[in-house]
Amino acid sequence: MTDDKLDLPQGTLDLLILKALSLEPQHGWAISERIQQVSRAALQIPQGSLYPALHRLERRGWVRAEWGASDNNRRAKYYELTRAGRKQLEAEADQWQRLTTAVRLVLDMS
């Protein structure tokens, strides 16, 4: 592991996955790629945790899965946000914002 990669704080993986799925349905590999790209490679999803997390979200009804053809015509399992998932994303994102703002305030205290 290189040093400029950040460890994911507990509980943020779900948030990242939900966010990555908010634009369009994706399959698992694309989700991890997208998060890595958007975070300028600072965040790397531990691949071992990705699929357990996806299945957990599916069980909770926040994402829904469907098999479809990928861009190179292979069968892939696509995940899509459900309405509950979208609400959950808003709630979690909001919470995250408040948390980071609060943490920043504390850190900026001089």
Binding site: G48, P52, E58, R59, A76
Partner: protein, 904 residues
């Protein structure tokens, strides 16, 4: 929220029903991911193999991720359990000895405990079946000080006392009274002595119960002076006597001296507050009491009723105590107004103690209840030993499976998953053990019950909810106790080492956990064996107490009459007929009428002795009146003077034989022969002492301490001055054991009796033995459990040493190759066993010494630190310890160095 639950349910259902599909999909999904990842690397310029390798490396183990994903799905618990159970069944089938050993050990622990729980709960602690809100019901005890200032607690109360308490208390909603009597029921040859419940009309209202036929008593049927002669019969008696016919209602039934009309039948299983006395007939208190004492409701003479009260809502037991005590004080004064001889309230300080309904939890609980509790905790110790044993066996098995476990972890089995699997296996074992244990409890409960308590009914263990719940609890606790440590060790992280080290069956290590378990077992067995020893010694001591008369060859014959009270002449006539009839039976040597029976029914009268100021202060002077054959019949020796003779008839000079203790108490070192004392009042004629008999013990109180003061009178003289004796009873001495003669005596003697007289014959030891019941039960149960625990500990020690030997085969091989002789190896292995045994013995002895004080009151003339007991226990334990380690040690000493080393 709802949608989420719905989604969850749908998902789980699909996962459960179609888990094969889902598994395939998951594999496809992961494969796709790997392919895309490899493709990315290839586009970056890597070779095809390199790309695949890098993708796989970044991803980690597919199997492990698949496993974790399955866990994340959350449906796997059930699947895992099924899988684990199947796996466990397969594993156990390949190790039948291991499985059998564990199941048998657990069955023993669970069985013994379930049986004990059933007995203790049912016979001692459970509220009577069907009682409404037993928590608000109390049994009333009365404490007061006697003339000598000693405080006594009484639960048998007088009819007016109960009426007073009911009338003057403000904290009770309802009161009831009841008593149990063995009485003649039926007529003619069908007459049998049965248990009759004498109950107030309110008694049934304490229970949620309705008659299966007819009705219960009405309050108007239970009014003084003589009540109404109506009876309710028990379900069992109804079926036996009336074949369950509705014709029973209205039928007449003779109970004691009165004929009753049957008005109702209780439902099956109704016992009331019976304390295991199974009444066949219920009659109103007033209807019965009037046949015994016509003034029972006005005077405080006739006692024997027990009292129940139901507290008003919100009233505490303390408040009830205070309220009832105030009522009792009023009642006491009311009694004093008509019986001036009654001690004053100030001197007697009467108070009410409200106890729980169950006698065994009240202030008058006998030693049986305490011994039974002790035995119950002893059973729990056996369970602990069994758990330790099972834990040890499981640990050993885990060690033997290290390689398998290590491989499974390497293949992606998570720690939690392995632990779960080990626990499943333990659960399967404990479940099987519990089932076998319950079956054996069902088979042995009756035997245990007869051993521990005096009660003999055989209630099923399997159909009793409380017992089953208890067994289930035990099962869960056992699983946790026995399974957790081995399971954790199966999940421990150093497992991987056993692969690296290349050990075939794991390397030998002294497992601290296993040695600790072994220590626990040895300690507990030591404690139990010490208990066994102390109770055996107590029993021997109490058996060795000279009673001053024989028990085994004596039969006790009692004649009860339901007819009018017989005159003195008639009683003597019947008695001589019985004596003649008895000695005519081959094997019956002698017989004598008696008026009192040791441990059963004693007679007293005030005595007055010239030169001795108030002799009654010196002790309780008991009376026995009998024929001249008495001393030869019961085997009491005459130590001075003469016994009774046929010349001591009515009208002749009144004579008595006194016990040695009575002689020394009254006349110290003077020669008692020729002394005079007066019986009943100081105006009676002089009774002259003509002989001194050896000391006897006739009361439970004198078993532990001094001798009873007793004098023997010729029965003809006794009857001449006292009227009819209190009982029509005989002692017969047989050749051999009285048990073998009881029925023969009854069958031969009954026809000699007029119709209203019926006989009960029983071996005298049936009366004497219960007084030693608590020690006998303690001894039996401690021996049983102590031996069980020791056997378990021995097996445990053997298993651990044998396992260690198997593990150390290579090491021993090396030692032998280096020149160790067989006896060195033997010493090495046995030494290990001995060290563990010694350590366990030491801690066990310490615990036993500490616990000794608690059981000291239950022992009889044995110090809880009796060195003999401790010595024997220590020796036994050492012998067992050496034996258990010798067998595997012998095997170790025969290890072939060549073979052992080549296996390396």
């Amino acid at each position: 929220m709802l949608s989420r639950i719905w989604s969850e349910l749908r998902y789980r259902f699909r996962a459960l029903v179609r888990h094969a599909d889902i598994d395939r999909e998951l594999r496809d999904e992961l494969a796709f991911h790997l392919a895309r990842e490899a493709e990315k690397h290839r586009r970056g310029g890597a070779s095809s193999e390199e790309a695949t390798r890098r993708a796989a490396l970044a991803f980690g183990g597919v199997d492990r991720i698949a496993e974790e994903t399955r866990d994340a799905r959350g449906v796997t618990l059930l699947q895992h359990v099924m899988q684990d159970l199947l796996y466990a069944v397969r594993g156990l089938r390949t190790h039948p000895v291991f499985a059998g050993g564990v199941i048998a050990t657990l069955a023993l622990g669970v069985g013994v405990n379930t049986a004990m729980f059933g007995i203790l709960d049912r016979t001692l602690f459970r509220a009577p079946a069907g009682m409404i809100d037993p928590g608000s019901v109390n049994r009333v005890y009365v404490a007061s000080s006697g003339p000598n200032g000693k405080r006594a607690i009484e639960m048998q109360l007088e009819y007016p006392r109960i009426a007073d308490l009911a009338r003057w208390s403000r904290t009770t909603d309802a009161t009831a009274s009841f008593a149990y009597r063995g009485m003649a029921v039926g007529d003619g040859r069908d007459t049998r002595e049965l248990v009759v419940a004498i109950v107030s009309a309110s008694y049934f209202s304490f229970f949620r119960v309705a008659p299966v036929l007819g009705r219960f008593f009405d309050a108007s049927e239970d009014q003084p002076p003589s009540g109404t002669a109506v009876a309710i019969i028990s379900n069992g008696y109804w079926r036996a006597r009336f074949g369950g016919s509705a014709n029973a209602i209205g039928a007449r039934i003779l109970v004691g001296q009165r004929s009753y009309t049957i008005i109702g039948v209780t439902p099956a299983g109704f016992e009331g507050v019976s304390e295991q006395r199974h009444p066949s007939v219920f009659v109103p208190v007033t209807a019965h009491a009037s046949t015994v004492d016509s003034s029972f409701y006005r005077t405080y003479h006739w006692s024997g009723l027990e009292m129940l009260v139901r507290r008003k809502p919100g009233i505490s037991v303390t408040a009830l105590d205070a309220d009832l005590s105030a009522a009792l004080t009023r009642s006491w004064n009311a009694q004093r107004a008509i019986e001036p001889g009654q001690t004053s309230v100030d001197a007697a300080r009467p108070e009410v103690i409200a106890g729980p309904v169950q006698l065994a939890r009240g202030p008058l609980a006998g030693p049986e209840a305490r011994v039974a509790m002790l035995v119950g905790s002893v059973a729990l110790i056996v369970l602990l030993v069994a758990c330790a044993n099972v834990a040890n066996l499981l640990l050993a098995r885990t060690l033997r499976r290290r390689r398998e476990l290590a491989v499974r972890r390497a293949l992606g089995g998570t720690r939690a998953r392995l632990i779960q699997q080990m626990l499943s296996e333990t659960s399967l074992l404990t479940a099987l053990g519990t089932v076998v244990g319950l079956m054996s409890a069902e088979l042995t409960a009756g035997m245990l019950r007869r051993t521990v308590t005096r009660f003999t009914d055989d209630a099923s263990v399997l159909t009793d909810m409380r017992t089953l719940v208890f067994a289930l609890t035990i099962m869960v606790v056992t699983t946790l106790l026995a399974g957790v440590v081995p399971a954790l060790s199966a999940g421990s992280d150093d497992l991987a080492d056993s692969l690296k080290a290349g050990a075939r069956e794991g390397t030998y290590r002294h497992s601290r956990a296993r040695v600790a378990l072994l220590l626990l077992q040895t300690t507990l067995s030591t404690t139990l064996l010490v208990g066994a020893g102390l109770f055996i010694r107590s029993l021997r001591q109490v058996r060795a107490v000279p009673l001053g008369y024989d028990v085994t060859p004596i039969a006790y014959i009692e004649a009860s009459s339901r007819g009018p009270h017989a005159t003195a002449r008639q009683v003597l006539d019947l008695e001589s007929r019985l004596v003649a009839g008895a000695v005519a039976i081959p094997g019956v040597e002698r017989a004598t009428p008696v008026i009192s029976v040791p441990f059963w029914s004693t007679e007293r009268a005030p005595i007055f002795v010239p030169g001795v100021d108030s002799a009654d202060r010196l002790g309780r002077f008991l009376i026995q009146a009998a024929s001249p054959d008495y001393f030869a019949t019961v085997g009491t020796r005459i130590v001075r003077g003469r016994g009774l003779t046929s010349a001591d008839r009515a009208g002749a000079r009144p004579v008595a034989v006194v016990s040695e203790a009575m002689a020394t108490t009254l006349w110290h070192s003077d020669d008692p022969i020729g002394k005079c004392f007066r019986i009943g009042s100081d105006t009676m004629p002089c009774t002259t002492v003509v002989g001194v008999a050896e000391n006897v013990r006739a009361r439970v109180a004198s078993l532990g301490g001094g001798m009873d003061l007793i004098y023997y009178l010729p029965i003809e003289q006794y009857v001449a001055s006292n009227g009819p004796p209190p009982m029509l009873a005989l002692f017969a001495r047989v050749h051999g054991r009285a048990d073998d003669y009881a029925e023969r005596l009854r069958a031969r003697l009954q026809p000699l009796m007029p119709a209203p007289v019926y006989l009960t014959v029983r071996p005298f030891h049936d009366i004497v033995d219960p007084t030693m019941q608590s020690w006998a039960a303690g001894a039996k149960m401690f021996v049983l459990f102590g031996v069980l625990a020791l056997a378990l500990a021995a097996v445990g020690l053997y298993a651990v040493i044998a396992f260690a030997v198997a593990q150390r085969t290579q090491e021993i091989g090396v030692r032998i190759a280096l020149g160790a002789r067989a006896r060195d190896v033997l010493a090495l292995i046995v030494g290990h066993g001995i060290r563990v045994t010694l350590a366990g013995l030491a801690t066990g002895v310490l615990i036993a010494l500490a616990a000794g004080r608690a059981i000291a009151p239950l022992l009889f003339h044995v110090s809880p630190r009796d060195p003999l007991v401790y010595g024997i226990v220590a020796a036994t334990l050492m012998v067992v310890g050496v034996a258990a380690s010798l067998i595997p040690a012998m095997r170790a000493s025969r290890v072939d160095a060549n073979l052992a080393l080549r296996a390396e």
